[in-house]
Subunit: 196 residues, 2 copies
């Protein structure tokens, strides 16, 4: 492609993703159709289908295009403070439109479409997990995490309660909730031996 054709291609891709997000917020993802997206974006249906083989994969690209990638963990030497900061940031995104309802709709679609589920994991969940794991490994090396704690589970245990609230009980995920999760997960349920 020449530069101007490539740029027109990018502009159309952008316009289609923007239309998908706008319509999902306006009418709900359940009622989103490729036809309506094409009309809103001012392109033909085939232009959409040439780029995406399904509504779910278009929606995935559109939602992930909103992620500014700013969810990597700092390392200040205090692992609880660093996890809290990243979890607060993630939740402040999730707590409000547009990201919250769109992300829930995307996970909803992943329950029906295995391609969406696989791509969501590969492109969003796995990099996030790897970043958290690296931060936790550093904390273990510094003695902030018990030497025998199963780090392979840490991401599931830290983010599981947040997803549970987002997807199941649908109660608000507040900064206070995150503090309580961190406190509970670090302390553990078992009684601790008296230290004096």
């Amino acid at each position: 492609m020449t530069d101007s054709r490539a740029s027109r291609h990018d502009n159309r891709t952008e316009a289609i993703m923007r239309a998908a997000l706008d319509l999902a917020l306006e009418v709900g993802y359940a009622k989103l159709s490729i036809e309506a997206v094409a009309t809103r974006a001012g392109v033909g249906k085939h232009t959409v289908y040439r780029r995406w083989s399904s509504r779910g994969l278009l929606f995935l690209d559109a939602v992930l295009s909103l992620n500014t990638g700013g969810l990597s963990h700092p390392n200040t030497g205090d692992v609880v403070a660093d996890l809290r900061e990243t979890m607060n940031k993630a939740v402040n995104l999730l707590a409000q439109p547009p990201w919250g309802p769109l992300y829930r709709a995307l996970i909803g679609e992943a329950q029906h479409d295995p391609e969406v589920a696989a791509a969501l994991n590969r492109r969003f969940i796995e990099p996030q997990t790897a970043d958290t794991l690296a931060r936790l490994k550093a904390a273990k090396d510094q003695g902030e995490i018990a030497p025998d704690f199963d780090l392979g589970l840490a991401f599931d245990i830290l983010s599981g309660p947040l997803y549970y609230r987002l997807l199941i009980t649908q109660q608000p995920i507040t900064d206070d909730y995150i503090d309580r999760v961190l406190q509970a997960v670090f302390a553990g349920m078992s009684p601790r031996p008296q230290t004096r």
Copy 2:
């Protein structure tokens, strides 16, 4: 209604729910239509709509009709063993058709339909949470759980990782995974003081 009319009503309700489940397993929930359910059940569309105002609420009733209610916690005096038993039972249901894919599809629908989300919580999640909480309170009274552990979070922390795996990474939830979650959640991430 006379007895025979009431019984015909029940039979039709059963047949419609059965048809919804069968079709969801055959074609996927995303492609399920009220028309197809009515045809499969041998009733008119209006007969379905007289009982359920939406496809989601019909599907919710149908999926919950499969739940045999056998997920309450025993109390043998060993809280970890009792939690393990109940979690293993739940996961053995979830790990295979029909319950697993149907439950995922139901949670998927709850992301798009607030009525489904509210009813799922009221009829399934809340009773389960209350049962787990009662078992954990007894354990706390017996000194098996730290006196200051935040029990209000316990269900989120124990079941969050399972839902995370079911809905997000979609990796298998094995008995070994449950053992690891219980071990990690009871021990906590913080290093423990040396006991000798």
